[in-house]
Symmetry: C2
Subunit: 321 residues, 2 copies
């Protein structure tokens, strides 16, 4: 099995399973495609330390399951109608079914990672990693919900939130691969540092693309975060650097979601431009990329494997969608 | 640590943790008391095979966490206002916080069981048990939700539902203790059989007490299941055995929750009495108890330990609250 077979594998694991109201939503979300970033990271972590990617297959599937479990529940909490161009689980079925199929998928993710063919010490480490990751993601999501109703959020609080909500899972994927490949403690610590910075850069890039993507490439309309008053890095940085006049504009437009969208989007974008928020965000991303690359340099692996990971992190920070 | 310290332990693990909106609901539900049946079963399973109950402490805590995670989410799904005499998590906070703190508690349960001081093979078995249990509970809860909106539910479907929803977790607790104590495969299979029958008897007794408890002892008003048209063993057995006239009465009163409660309760109880439903349910319980006791007899453990478990299952089936 390779991760190219993931969709077949998920169909096999969830199709025709009873009760249908539990497994159909799980099959639905697992077979919608998506970028499969997390399984790919598991494979990258495995290859980096010379491991066997076939051995890592179940861990890759498990982290994709864990990720999709969080999406099912996040979509209820965010009242989101659409995900990957299709109705979300809770809209297509209902919120009870979404709660429960998410819960089941979370337990299935643990069951899945335990299918990894490995010695029991490794299996225990993988279970521990999955437990810690699950706790971290929930902490991050709770901070995100808390921030919605708070007026003041510092940049450092925001970074801690996205570290937990996004970077912890991306890091865990790389680390699962590294554990399966038998990486030593020194290397695992470097993977942690690399993954954390990759994750932070990834999320800031997401924040940036919401405003500055070429919308013919990005595949969704720009300004979605601005529309719903989402406190992104761009917004928080603008608030931090704003003069009283600019702060008034930011506060005004972020006080409600009822404004004419074009008026609001253009007003906020104008403040961002005055404050060079695009450049400042790009600099912050670059700084995380650099920290990630530094961590990579400290790993005891051969240069060619490092080069692949280096390409990954730079591609990711240069992506335009 | 013993399970008498559970409340202190839960306070220590969840108090002052950040974010407060995630951990306060978890602390709230974990320190409400409750009967602590699941931790006790872990200890009973450990003692049965001569294990060290201190070693089983984290497994006991873990299964209490897993149980409470399911309660937090079930209360959202059932729109339940009160649990153990206090507002449910989702009523005291809100449903987003309840979804998320449940998710976190589920990951914490896995993290907790992995704290068990044991060899890695044992830790892997405990993780697998927790994963299988988590999947089973969700399947059971989904069947329960499905049955609410179905007209026809057979007794065997009902038994499969309560096996998954209730018996799987009770069995897992006994089994976790047995695994920690190093029970062999033969004995673990007998524990499975014992636990399943204990769980089924336990749930049927619950169904019975809803109608026939001495309400000064049971601590809640009788007839709650009848009021909300819950398809219990009693109701399904009555439907199975009813003549057309009796079936009409059952269908009539179970078609709505708007009836005068006393009128409905008395009408249903009258049909139950005509059909000897109380006695038939008691016989079904007795049959499960007997199957459980038979499984117990096949275990290779000394007679005194068997006697304790035998007392447990008979006490449980004779309880009046």
């Amino acid at each position: 099995m390779t991760i190219n077979n993931l969709e077949d594998y998920f169909n096999q694991e969830t199709g025709q399973q009873s009760p249908a109201n539990l497994y159909e939503p799980i099959q639905y979300i697992l077979t919608q495609g998506g970028k499969r970033i997390r399984p790919r990271l598991v494979m990258i972590g495995t290859e980096l330390f010379g491991g066997n990617t076939e051995q890592a297959f179940h861990a890759a599937a498990a982290f994709e399951m864990l990720h999709n479990f969080t999406l099912i529940h996040d979509d209820i909490m965010d009242d989101a109608p659409i995900r990957r161009g299709k109705p979300t689980v809770y809209r297509k079925w209902n919120s009870n079914i979404a709660i429960l199929s998410g819960d089941a998928l979370s337990a299935m993710a643990l069951r899945e990672i335990l299918k990894t063919p490995c010695d029991p010490e490794t299996a225990v480490r993988l279970s521990q990693l999955m437990a810690e990751t699950g706790v971290g993601i929930c902490e991050g999501q709770q901070l995100d919900l808390d921030f919605e109703s708070r007026n003041e959020v510092s940049i450092s609080e925001y970074i801690e939130m996205i570290r937990l909500k996004t970077a912890v899972l991306l890091t865990a994927c790389l680390k699962a691969g590294a554990i399966i490949a038998g990486a030593n403690e020194h290397n695992l610590a470097a993977v942690d540092e690399f993954g954390t910075n990759l994750g932070l850069a990834f999320q800031l890039k997401d924040d940036l693309l919401d405003v500055y993507a070429d919308d013919t490439v990005f595949g969704k309309v720009n300004g979605g975060d601005i529309k719903v008053n989402k406190k992104t890095y761009l917004y928080l940085k603008a608030l931090e650097d704003a003069n009283p006049e600019q702060k008034k504009i930011l506060d005004h437009y972020f006080s409600s979601t009822d404004f004419d969208f074009d008026e609001k989007y253009n007003a906020i974008k104008k403040v961002y431009e005055e404050l060079a928020i695009r450049q400042k965000t790009e600099q912050a991303i670059e700084a995380y990329v650099q920290k990630g690359l530094n961590a990579l340099q400290t790993m005891d692996v051969d240069a060619q494997r490092k080069a692949e990971l280096s390409t990954l992190i730079t591609d990711m920070s240069n992506r335009n969608k």
